[in-house]
C-alpha cells in the first residue's frame, strides 16, 4: 500500500520518506547532464541538450539574446550563471523567480546578490513545496556558477528537496555518478579556468551517449573576472563558439575530412 503516500507531496511514508521528492530526483537523474567545475580564476559550466533534431529552428541562437540556446544554461544576474537539469518548464519558472530576487537585492543594497544568498532564496521556495500541501515539487536541480566579493568564485548545487551545497566540481542529470567519479580522479586543487574547460569537455565527452560532440548537443558557459574592470564576466557560448572550442580540444566532429575521403 505504499501508493497511499505517493500522491501527496507533504505526507511522510511510514518509513519516513517523501516519495514525490524522491520521484522528482529520479526524474532529474534521467535529464540532460549538467557539469560544473570551480577553478581558481573562474567557473565552468557545460550542459547536454536533449531537444535536438534537424527541423528544430535554432536561428535565434546564432546571434540573438546573450548567447547560448536557452535550453539549459541561463544568466541570472551579472555575477551568476545557472545550469538546469530536469523539467524545463519548472526551470523557467525558477529562473524567473531567481532573476526577480537578484534584482530586488540590487535595488535594496546596490550590490550584486551574493551567490549563496541567491541559491538560498531558490531553496526556500523549493523547500516550501515539500511542506505546504497539494502541490507538486519543482522537478529541477540547478548548478549555480557565480562570483561575489565576499567569497569570490563559487559553485553550488540545489535539488528538489531544497537542499543546497557548495562544490569544487560536480554534476547533475544523467550519468552523474560516472561524471562525478571522473571528476574526483581528474580534479586538481588550484586548477585554472583553461584547464577546467578541458576537464569539463573531457568528462562531458565520456558521459554523453553520442560519440561526437557538437553545438547541437552541448551548451557551454564560463564565469571569469574581467581583468580591467575586476567585475564578473559571464560568457555563454554561441553554437559556433562551442564548435570552435570542441575542435580546439579535439572532440569535435571531423565531418569535413570524412566527407572528402569518402
Amino acid at each position: 500500500m505504499a501508493r497511499r503516500y505517493d500522491s501527496r507531496t507533504t505526507i511522510f511514508s511510514p518509513e519516513g520518506r517523501l516519495y514525490q521528492i524522491e520521484y522528482a530526483m529520479e526524474a532529474i537523474s534521467h535529464a540532460g547532464t549538467v557539469l560544473g567545475v570551480l577553478a581558481s580564476d573562474g567557473v565552468v559550466l557545460a550542459a547536454e541538450k536533449k531537444v535536438t533534431g534537424k527541423l528544430l529552428d535554432l536561428s535565434v541562437t546564432k546571434d540573438g539574446g546573450y548567447g547560448g540556446s536557452g535550453e539549459k544554461i541561463y544568466l541570472l544576474t551579472d555575477n551568476v550563471v545557472v545550469g538546469v537539469a530536469g523539467l524545463t518548464a519548472d526551470a523557467n519558472s525558477l529562473v524567473n523567480y531567481a532573476r526577480t530576487a537578484a534584482q530586488r537585492h540590487l535595488f535594496t543594497f546596490n550590490e550584486d546578490i551574493p551567490v549563496e544568498q541567491l541559491a538560498q532564496r531558490l531553496c526556500d521556495l523549493k523547500q516550501g513545496y515539500t511542506q505546504y500541501g497539494g502541490l507538486r515539487p519543482f522537478g529541477v536541480s540547478l548548478l549555480y556558477a557565480g562570483w561575489d566579493p565576499y567569497y569570490q568564485f563559487q559553485l553550488y548545487l540545489s535539488d528538489p528537496s531544497g537542499n543546497y551545497s557548495g562544490w569544487k566540481a560536480t554534476c547533475i542529470g544523467a550519468n552523474n555518478g560516472t561524471a562525478q567519479s571522473l571528476l574526483k580522479q581528474e580534479y586538481k586543487e588550484d586548477i585554472k579556468v583553461e584547464d577546467a574547460i578541458g576537464l569539463v569537455m573531457k568528462v562531458m565527452s565520456k558521459t554523453m551517449d553520442s560519440t561526437t560532440l557538437g553545438s547541437e548537443k552541448l551548451e557551454f558557459a564560463t564565469l571569469t573576472l574581467d581583468p580591467t574592470t575586476k567585475k564578473p564576466k559571464a560568457k555563454i557560448y554561441r553554437p559556433a563558439e562551442v564548435d570552435a572550442l570542441l575542435q580546439k580540444h579535439d572532440l569535435g566532429k571531423k565531418e569535413d575530412t570524412e566527407m572528402k575521403t569518402s
Binding site: T108, F109, N110, E111, P114, E116, Q117, P149, Y150
Partner: protein, 178 residues
C-alpha cells in the same frame, strides 16, 4: 544643536559626535553616546529629532545583525549604506517619517578600503572623504576643505570619538585641552 564629524584616511575612518542630550534651553545629559558600532567594521553616528534617532539607530543595528546571522557575513559598508538610505527614504514617504541624519563609516574587508557615507533625513546619500552634520558643519567643512586640521574650534566640552580600520572598531580618547 548637535554636531558630528567624520574623516577618512588611508585604511581608516574616524567619527566624532558631541555628547549632549538637550531639550530647549536645558542640557539634560553630557555623556550620551551617539555613535553605534553596527558590526565589527561599521560605525554609525546619528543626530536629529530626539527619540527618532535612537529608535532608528536600534532598528538599523538589529536589522544588520539579523542579516549577518542569516548570511554568515556582515554587509559591506556600501551595501549597508544603501540599505540605511533606503530605510530613510521609505520612512520619509510614510505617515510618520524618521528625522535622522547619519554618518556611516566602515572598513570594507573585501577590498581593504575605508568608506564614509553622508546621509540626511531626506534620504540623500553621498560617498565622501570627510563629512559633518549640524551647526558644527559650517565651521568644520570649510576647515576640512582646506585640509584636515589638527584642532576643531567648536566649544563643545567633550566628544565621543571612534575609529574603524582593518582591526575593527574602537574608541579613542580625545584630549580637548589643546
Amino acid at each position: 544643536m548637535e554636531v558630528s564629524f567624520a574623516i577618512t584616511g588611508k585604511g581608516y575612518v574616524i567619527l566624532a559626535a558631541d555628547q549632549n542630550a538637550a531639550r530647549s534651553i536645558i542640557k539634560m545629559k553630557a555623556d550620551e553616546d551617539k555613535i553605534k558600532a553596527l558590526g565589527s567594521h561599521l560605525l554609525m553616528a546619528y543626530s536629529g529629532e530626539p527619540g527618532d534617532t535612537v529608535q532608528f539607530a536600534e532598528y538599523v543595528e538589529r536589522n544588520l545583525r539579523l542579516q549577518q546571522m542569516r548570511n554568515n557575513h556582515p554587509l559591506r559598508p556600501q551595501a549597508a549604506a544603501s540599505w540605511v538610505r533606503r530605510s530613510i527614504a521609505d520612512s520619509l514617504r510614510s505617515r510618520s517619517p524618521y528625522a535622522v541624519n547619519i554618518l556611516l563609516g566602515g572598513y570594507d574587508m573585501a577590498n581593504k578600503q575605508a568608506k564614509l557615507y553622508w546621509m540626511d533625513y531626506l534620504g540623500t546619500q553621498v560617498d565622501v572623504p570627510f563629512a559633518a552634520h549640524g551647526y558644527g558643519s559650517y565651521f568644520a567643512l570649510s576647515l576640512l576643505d582646506r585640509e584636515v586640521q589638527k584642532r576643531l574650534v567648536i566649544s563643545f566640552p567633550s566628544f565621543k570619538v571612534k575609529v574603524v580600520d582593518e582591526g575593527g572598531v574602537r574608541e579613542v580618547e580625545l584630549d580637548m585641552t589643546v
